[in-house]
Amino acid sequence: MKTNRFWSWLFLLLGVAYFVFPLIGTFEFSLKMRRGAYSFDAYRTVLTDPQFQATFGYSVTMALATIVMGVVLVVPTAYWVRLKLPSWRPVIEFITLLPLVIPAIVVVFGYIRLYNTSSWLPLTGSAMGTNILLMFGYTTLALPYMYRAVDTGLRAIDVGTLTEAAQSLGAGWITIMTRVILPNVLVAVLSGAFLTFAIVIGEFTMAALLNRPAFGPYLQLIGANRAYEPAALAVIAFGITWLCMGLIQLVSRFSKLPNAGR
C-alpha cells in the first residue's frame, strides 16, 4: 500500500512538473523586462499596444461569429440526424472528424484555390469576403468539438418524443428548434462554444495565409521581433484558454438540468 502511494505521487509530481515548469519559466521570464527587478512592464507594453487591441478585438469578433455559425449549422444537423437519419450518424461523425485529420494549411489552400478572384465566388476579392471565408474555415476547425458536444447533449433527451409532443401541441419546426431543442442542449452548446473560442483565439495558419489581422499572426510577429513580450502574450493566451475551460466546468456544474429523474 505504502509503495503504491509512493509511486503514484512520484508520477503525479513528474507529470505536474512537466507541465508546470515551462509555464513558471515563461511567467518568470515575462516579468524580467526591467533589469534587476520583477515588473509587469512587458504586460503593460503588450496591453497598451494598439495592434494588440486591434488583433485581439478582431479575433474575439471572429470567434463570436464562428460560434453563431457553428450553432446554426451543427444543432439542426445533429438534431435532424438523430431524429430522421440515425443510420447516417457514423457518416456525419466521420465528416466532422475530418478537420482533425486534414491539416489547416491544406484546407486554407483549398479555400484559396476555390474562392480566389478568378473563381465563380471570389470571396478573397474583398476584406469582408475574406473575413467570411476565414469564419467558415474556423467553423470547420471547430466542427469536431461542436458536433460532439451537441450530439452528446441530444443523447440526454428523448428527441423523438419531445418533438412529437411539441408538434401535437401545434408547434412548427422553428418553435421546436428554438423553444424545445436548443434550450435543452444549451449546456452542451456552451461547452462547444468555449472550445471554439479558445481555438479561434490561438489560430495562426488560416489567418496568416488569408492575410487577416488576427491574434495568432500578431503573436507570431511579436515572437519573432521582441524578447519579453511574447512570454507575456503566451501567459495571457494561456489565461484565456484556462478561463474558457473554467467556464465550461462552471456551466456544466450549475446547469439546471440534472439527468436525475429520467
Binding site: I157, T161, E164, A165, A171, L257, R262
Partner: protein, 351 residues
C-alpha cells in the same frame, strides 16, 4: 355522423403491411381503447390519427373534416406519450402553457387556464417545479394537463400508464377516466393491458396482425369473443381439447367426461376434434354426485382474497379461482374432485 371516422386505413413499412383495412367510427365523448399484443398495429393507427405517420391508403376525418394529409401541428389533437415527453427545460406551468403560447393566447387567459389545469390534475402547488422533481405518476398527470390545455378536439393516449408501477397505474387510470368523463372529450387509448382496457373503455377494439379483430363494449368483448384470438387474449381462458360424440345434442368428450355444450354442433362430424374454452370464473368445485367433469387437484395457490385451483382431467387442465373463506380450507393437491360449470359458459372455438 361519427366524430372520428377511420376508413379503409392501410399502412406499409417497406414490404410489410402493418395495418390492414382498418375501419372505425368513434362517437363524440366516447372512450375507445385499442387493445392488442405488441406489434399488432395499434400504436401505428394512433400515430396516423395524430399525423406522425402517413397512411399508405385510406382516410381519417375528425369532426367531418378530412385530416389525412394534415401535418400533426394542424390537427388540434392532444396527445399523452408513454414517458419522457415533458420538456425538461420548462417548469410544470410552462409545460402546460406550451400549447397556449404556440397558439398566441393572451398571458392572462393562459395563466388562468394553467391554474385550472393544475387544479384538474390535483397538483395546484406544483406549477414552479421542474419535471425531474416529480414522480412518474405526477409527470404523466402533467402531460395530460399539457395535452388538454389548448382544448383539443380529440385526446390520444399512447400507453400512458405502462411505465408506472402497479399501484399508481390503477389510481391514475381511474383519474384519467374521470377527467375524460367530466370534460366529455373523445378519447383513444392504446394499451396492451386488458385490465386497463376493460375497466376504462366505452368500447374496445381488439387488434391482431394489423386488423381489428373485434369491436365492442368491454362486457361483450369479454363474454362473447368473436374470434379465437380475442377469446385467448382477453382474460385467462382454459382451452379444452376433445372429440365430438353427439353433434346433434352438442356433447363433447374431454378426457372421458361427457361435456354438454350450449348448442348443437352439427357443423362438426361425429368423432371430430374440437376446442372448447372456459372462463376461470365460470367453473367451481362440485363434490356432489353428478359433476360436469371429474379430475384430480393439481395444485392450489393461495393468493389472499382468492384461491387459484388447477385441476387435471387427464390431457387437459382447468384452472379456476375461488374466493377465500376462513370456514372452508382449500383442498389438498392429489385429491380427486368434481368440477361444475354451466353448458352456456362453454365457448366453442372454430379452428
Amino acid at each position: 355522423m361519427a366524430f372520428l371516422e377511420i376508413a379503409n386505413l392501410q399502412k406499409d413499412f417497406g414490404a410489410v403491411r402493418v395495418v390492414k383495412d382498418f375501419n372505425l367510427a368513434v362517437e363524440p365523448g366516447e372512450f375507445v381503447s385499442f387493445l392488442g399484443p405488441s406489434g399488432c398495429g395499434k400504436t401505428t393507427v394512433l400515430r396516423m390519427v395524430a399525423g406522425f405517420e402517413e397512411p399508405t391508403d385510406g382516410t381519417i376525418s375528425i369532426g367531418g373534416r378530412d385530416v389525412t394529409r394534415l401535418r400533426p401541428n394542424q390537427r388540434n389533437i392532444g396527445m399523452v406519450f408513454q414517458a419522457h415527453a415533458l420538456f425538461p427545460n420548462m417548469t410544470v406551468a410552462q409545460n402546460i402553457a406550451f400549447g397556449l403560447r404556440v397558439a398566441r393566447t393572451p398571458k392572462a387567459d393562459s395563466d388562468a387556464r394553467v391554474a385550472e389545469m393544475l387544479a384538474l390534475i390535483k397538483l395546484p402547488d406544483y406549477g414552479d417545479r421542474y419535471p425531474y422533481q416529480l414522480s412518474g405518476g405526477q409527470q404523466q398527470r402533467v402531460a395530460l394537463a399539457r395535452a388538454l390545455a389548448p382544448r383539443p378536439k380529440l385526446l390520444l393516449l399512447d400507453e400512458p400508464l405502462s411505465a408506472l408501477d402497479a399501484k399508481v397505474r390503477v389510481s391514475l387510470r381511474e383519474e384519467i377516466r374521470q377527467i375524460q368523463r367530466n370534460l366529455g372529450i373523445t378519447t383513444i387509448f392504446v394499451t396492451h393491458d386488458q385490465e386497463e382496457a376493460l375497466s376504462m373503455s366505452d368500447r374496445i377494439v381488439v387488434m391482431y396482425g394489423g386488423r381489428a379483430e373485434q369491436v365492442g363494449a368491454p362486457f361483450d368483448i369479454y363474454n362473447k369473443p368473436s374470434t379465437r384470438f380475442v377469446a385467448s387474449f382477453v382474460g385467462t381462458l382454459n382451452i379444452l381439447r376433445g372429440t365430438v360424440t353427439d353433434p346433434a345434442r352438442g356433447v363433447v368428450d374431454v378426457d372421458g367426461n361427457a361435456i354438454q355444450t350450449g348448442g348443437e354442433l352439427s357443423r362438426f362430424a361425429k368423432g371430430a376434434p374440437i376446442s372448447l374454452a372456459l372462463r376461470p370464473e365460470a367453473a367451481a368445485l362440485d363434490n356432489g354426485p353428478a359433476p360436469m367433469a371429474r379430475g384430480k387437484i393439481m395444485d392450489v395457490s393461495f393468493l389472499g382474497s382468492v384461491i387459484r385451483i388447477r385441476v387435471n382431467l387427464g390431457q387437459n387442465t382447468i384452472s379456476f379461482d375461488r374466493f377465500n373463506s376462513p370456514g372452508s380450507p382449500p383442498p389438498a393437491p392429489g385429491e380427486p374432485c368434481g368440477i361444475a360449470f354451466a353448458a352456456k359458459d362453454i365457448l366453442v372455438l372454430d379452428d
